[in-house]
């Protein structure tokens, strides 16, 4: 039965080459677009994770704190746990760092006095957002603390951007997936209608519904598979062009590639199943 079904699927493909190619092309474009958005998402995720690695809590201190007070605050922060390192920057050191930029140095000189506070750069061992949040909130209430920052707004904004891009990608992908599904249904129905006489005779001489259906299902599966391969191939081509110009770009991880490929095959199968159902009534 499988041999017969494969032979017939191959014949169907040859008979309606153009329609099959259109369906495969449409599916490969859907997968390509979803792949591009996934690629953007994966790489943006990498940027965020890299950022998170560099995120430190910056604790700005009140002016005119004594050395003992500064030491006591440092000890208190260290005793909170999860602290890898605390680096102290005095007012003078902060001014010196910022004055490397000539324009800023000029403005600061105009002000007359040093407006910059002393600060602690607190590096955590576990850099998860909840940990950062937790520790930052607690430090805020210490005596002698002017302000606490840890780049939470930047990370939040990046996460929003990723979510937005992923949503667009998924939305577009679904839309194009529906179009691909319609094209496959149209293609298979065209082939079935050209073979209606044969199908009818097969039904009347005792072919089972599964036997009649199998070549068309295989054809849909093959179209889906080829569409998935083409789409992923084009995506890899785009990725290859990108890494020639930019370093460090990640390709899609295996689970996402498998998901896209599997999705393509599934669309092919579902399309052919839907299109053949009406004609298989015994």
């Amino acid at each position: 039965m499988i041999g017969y079904a494969l032979r017939e699927a191959k014949n169907n493909f040859r008979r309606e080459k153009l329609a099959n190619l259109s369906a495969i092309w449409s599916l490969s474009i859907s997968i390509l677009i979803m792949g591009v958005f996934s690629l953007i998402g994966v790489n943006l995720n990498k940027v965020i994770n890299d950022l998170k690695e560099k995120v430190e809590i910056v604790v700005f201190l009140d002016d005119d704190l004594s050395i003992e007070k500064i030491g006591s605050i440092r000890k208190k922060i260290f005793n909170m746990g999860n602290i890898e390192d605390i680096i102290y920057t005095s007012k003078d050191e902060a001014l010196s760092d910022l004055s490397k930029d000539a324009e800023i140095a000029h403005y600061i000189k105009m002000m007359g006095e040093n407006p910059l506070p002393a600060s602690f750069n607190v590096k955590l061992i576990d850099k998860k957002m909840e940990q950062l949040n937790n520790i930052a909130k607690r430090i805020k209430f210490f005596d002698g603390i002017k302000e606490v920052r840890y780049g939470q707004e930047e990370v939040k904004n990046l996460n929003k951007i990723i979510f937005f891009i992923k949503s667009i990608g998924i939305g577009l992908g679904i839309m194009l997936g529906v179009i691909s599904l319609s094209m496959i249904i149209y293609t298979i129905r065209l082939i079935v209608s050209l073979r209606q006489d044969e199908i009818r005779i097969m039904q009347l001489v005792g072919a089972t519904a599964g036997f009649i259906r199998m070549p068309f299902l295989l054809e849909g599966l093959i179209a889906g598979f080829l569409g998935a391969i083409c789409g992923l191939g084009l995506l890899f081509g785009i990725y290859y062009l990108l890494i020639l110009r930019f370093e460090g770009i990640l390709f899609l991880p295996w689970p996402i590639m498998a998901g896209l490929g599997g999705g393509g095959i599934l669309v092919g199968f579902i399309g052919s199943f839907i299109s053949i159902q009406k004609y298989i009534e015994v």
Binding site: D197, I201, L204, V205, G206, A207, T208, A209, F211, V282
Partner: protein, 226 residues
Amino acid sequence: MIRFEHVCKYYFAQTSDLEKNINALVDINVVIKRGGFFVLFGPNGAGKTTFLKLITCQERPSAGKIFWGEQDLSKIKRKHIPFLRRKIGMIFQDFKLLYKKTIFENIAFVLSAIDLPKEVVFDRVCEALNKVDLIRKKNLYPYQLSHGERQKLCIARALVNNPEIILADEPMANLDMETQEELIQILSKTNEEGVTVVMATNNKKTDFNNISYQSLKLVGGKSKES
């Protein structure tokens, strides 16, 4: 072998101002004996094709029961219908030949459709073509045959799967007397080998060559057994 008990078949039709049932068959009671030769007479529209369709389960009776042996065909499950049809050899009124396939392929197609292996197919097809004397033309296409030869091809296709019963729907239509006799002989020989033959015809003058047959006359869907 096949028993019709108070079988009715009507189709629902909607005309411009009425909804009504069209009675294709009304209260048909008949027994077709195993190994018998059964002829269904009637003008066009009498219900002959509907009668045959009920046997192949292309239609279900609106009322009554049809039995094949002990099996009630009106209750047969859809998934079992293909296996019932493998016991039947159909000869269609409109031939239903595949014009892009050769004569050999038209018949082999039937055996491929029920997933028989290639080795079996070749021998069976040749045997069937021999019975109807078309073996020398096996590589021709249906359009290269005469009307009578196409009908013989249909008979060969019906016989290839060694059916228990042949259902022939107007096999003599548009044939000259000589070809009709030839076909009757083929069907008769098949019947002698134990295959039940059910033949629908609108031609009362068909010469059955001293074949002993059972008949039923249909007029407007109603029966007159003789």
